[in-house]
């Protein structure tokens, strides 16, 4: 089901939507919907990169599997927030267990 929502846009925002619509040969509504989807993905990835989302939460928000989320992070070149110290701690933990 598609809902109708009225949104106030300034001249610059409208100009950008028209330009994208012309560039991609799509209707303005289709362009706005696409921008919302891609904007949501961008914001979600940003929240993940800043450590405000776990990978599970990110996958859930984007409606994709964790495996697909790992591929997406890889495609966007988003580095893991892992330091060399984290690696050393991990190695030490592994040495202690059989």
């Amino acid at each position: 089901m598609v809902n109708t929502v009225s949104v106030r846009l300034n001249a610059d925002e409208l100009k950008k939507i028209r330009a994208l619509s012309k560039l991609e040969g799509k209707g303005k509504s289709a362009v706005v919907r696409e921008l919302i989807r891609e904007g949501f993905t961008f914001k979600s990835l940003q929240a993940y990169r800043e450590g405000r989302r776990s990978i599970g939460t990110l996958a859930h928000d984007l409606g994709i599997s964790i495996s697909a989320t790992i591929d997406l992070l890889s495609n966007f070149g988003i580095e893991a927030s892992v330091t060399y110290d984290d690696y050393l701690e991990s190695v030490e933990t592994l040495q202690k267990i059989k």
Binding site: A59, H60, V82, Y84, S90
Partner: protein, 165 residues
């Protein structure tokens, strides 16, 4: 015993050393992690994880819930799978293999030791479960899927080379 969350399990599967890791270490996951990892059954990593569960190299265990951990996981914006994996690690007094930063931070608060995927590589070489040459050839995949920084991967490379001498 090591408890795994979905992130590390999937990275190790994508890098193609999950079987060797599970041969070397007793590993457990809660049912929600099994579901998260095998949901998209057409993916190669999902198929491998399902196969390893069937071969009983990866055990599936349901943990008991405690409110103490639930409160902490809410603070870190963790999803259900990560929360339940933390419960299991806490209950079993076992380390948690996770490559997720908020989950690793929750581990620190709960005094649970955590392990990142690339640490298993050096361990497998040390135990002669994979050759140094193969380990070095897998660094590129760890960069792709684990998304580790250059400093960490260079250090891993150096350690593996040192062991080959």
């Amino acid at each position: 015993m090591i408890v795994f969350d979905a992130s590390t399990l999937i990275i190790l599967a994508k890098v193609s050393i999950l079987r060797e890791v599970l041969v070397a270490h007793k590993a457990v996951i809660p049912p929600i992690i099994q579901e998260e990892c095998t949901r998209e059954s057409t993916r190669e990593d999902a198929q491998l994880i399902a196969q390893l569960i069937e071969e009983e190299l990866l055990a599936v265990v349901e943990p008991q819930r405690t409110n103490r951990i639930s409160h902490i996981t809410e603070d870190f914006n963790l999803h259900r799978g990560e929360t339940v994996a933390l419960h299991l690690a806490w209950q079993e007094k076992a380390p948690l293999a996770t490559d997720d930063t908020p989950t690793r931070k929750a581990c620190q608060i709960l005094n649970i030791r955590s392990i990142i995927a690339v640490a298993f590589l050096e361990r497998l070489v040390q135990r002669d479960l994979i050759s140094g040459e193969r380990a070095l050839s897998l660094i590129r995949k760890f960069k792709q899927y684990g998304r580790y920084d250059v400093e960490t991967l260079e250090a891993v490379k150096a350690k593996i080379k040192q062991r080959r001498r």
